[in-house]
Symmetry: C2
Subunit: 273 residues, 2 copies
């Protein structure tokens, strides 16, 4: 059984010291509650709404040698946990909206967001690799980042490569025609894709309003049937969402009838790409 925690909090744009320290405090709290895989929001070390590329650049770091990855890796060692967290990455002089995965034995890998949202396109380069699946001692972990969940192809890519759980660091914002009283469509997207791929989904969203941009919270852990097993959290409170995930259910859930398997039933030759 994999104990999962999604940490929902309110990073402050530009204040990396506060953001990382606060993330370490919340990681410690989640670990003390028994969490083994801890997911944090997108760009949670730097904040999100940059004024310009110069500001984004000033808040970026190389991976794994930058201070943030080092601090999260040290926390992963200390607490014996795995951490998937959004980070502002610099590689030479290119910036990426990345997710770092680190664990008790050290840094594991990075995913660079491939579907950039709105002004992210001004600051970041899009990733040029498929959504990875990291095979770890605690399970096969796929990673998506925020707007990626609008692309069922990305969930499929994770599932076809063996993911049992998809970690989703995110900074979801209201979509056009979103009504405040409705469950955010992002949560419906995660539910639908968990179900049609047979994977757990653990989405950690941020809260707060940054330079006029509001965020949606609703962090959630979803089982392969498509049902939330924990959350969705509030729209605006710092919270940790905990869930016990029996990852063996992921593979089993793909057999949906005596004669049907949601991955094997695909008809690749008949899809437009």
């Amino acid at each position: 059984m994999l104990e999962v925690a999604c940490i929902q909090f309110d990073p402050r744009v530009g204040d990396k010291t506060y953001n990382v320290e606060h993330s370490l405090k919340l990681i410690g709290e989640a670990a003390s509650q028994g969490a083994k895989l801890i997911v944090l929001p997108e760009l949670c070390n730097s904040g999100y709404v940059f004024n310009d590329r110069e500001e984004a650049y000033s808040l970026s770091e190389p991976i794994p040698e930058g201070d943030t990855t080092q601090a999260w890796t040290e926390a992963a060692r200390k607490h014996d946990v795995y951490i998937a967290a959004g980070i502002n990455e610099r590689d030479n002089d290119k910036l990426y909206n990345s997710v770092v995965l680190t664990g008790p034995q050290g840094y594991i890998g990075t995913y660079r967001k491939v579907h950039l949202w709105n002004k992210e396109k001004l600051f970041f380069e899009p990733g040029d690799a498929k959504n990875p699946v990291f095979h770890t001692p605690v399970g096969r972990i796929g990673i998506l980042n925020c707007y990626d969940v609008w692309f069922p192809e990305s969930f499929r890519t994770c599932a076809l490569n063996g993911a049992e759980i998809v970690a989703v660091p995110t900074n979801w914002v209201p979509m056009p025609e979103q009504k405040k009283e409705d469950l955010p469509m992002a949560v419906h997207l995660c539910m639908a894709n968990a179900h049609s791929n047979g994977v757990f989904v653990a989405a950690a969203d941020r809260i707060g309003t940054e330079r006029g941009q509001s965020f949606l919270g609703h962090s959630v852990i979803i089982e392969p049937s498509g049902r939330p097993i924990s959350g969705p959290a509030s729209q605006d409170q710092e919270e940790i969402v905990y869930g016990s995930c029996d990852l063996s259910k992921a593979t089993l859930s793909r057999t949906v009838s005596e004669r049907n398997h949601v991955l094997h039933d695909r008809r690749e030759e008949l899809y437009e790409l």
Copy 2:
């Protein structure tokens, strides 16, 4: 504005005369309420739970010359409407779980279900063509059938080929771990795929229990934002769900921010197929 109706009813297995007559009555009712595109359930002329292939065969018909397609085409002419309805198709001696689209000017086309569910595999051949998009005077109509909605690739195929609305004749059955009080995952799947593709979805499900197999109802019309604009209907009552669909919203809804379009942002080269 396209007025859409999804007809939810309880076909009787083996009683084609009753099923077609009842469908004509309900088509007339929907037309009298102003509907222009009328969607009926999967296999609604034959019923669904066949004892064996011989029974399925005995209830099958060629398209368009069979009596059912002729009757629906005559109704489409008489009422000046378009009808998308599930039908048990025979082509030479092969059977297909098909959807026929017919209109005021006559028969338009057929879609043969490509993802067969459970025992359907014993009776039917899978379709071997991509989900079609029919360009009609009232809009660009894509078609999916029941278990197809588990495959986001099929919705994408419709959207990439220009669909503004996807008609879904269906016979949804409870999935493993489905709880009776929960919204069926099929509806979440339709909502998510409407939203991530920018299409209307009009799903007409059947009701009733046939030879021990229950069906889910919940017929629904969903706008491109992903929200139901009509329904979901009940689980067990004969009902017609009506919705006014401004199809121009489909294309417009795909622009989700100043710099994002849900179809153009795809990264085909990074998807596993």
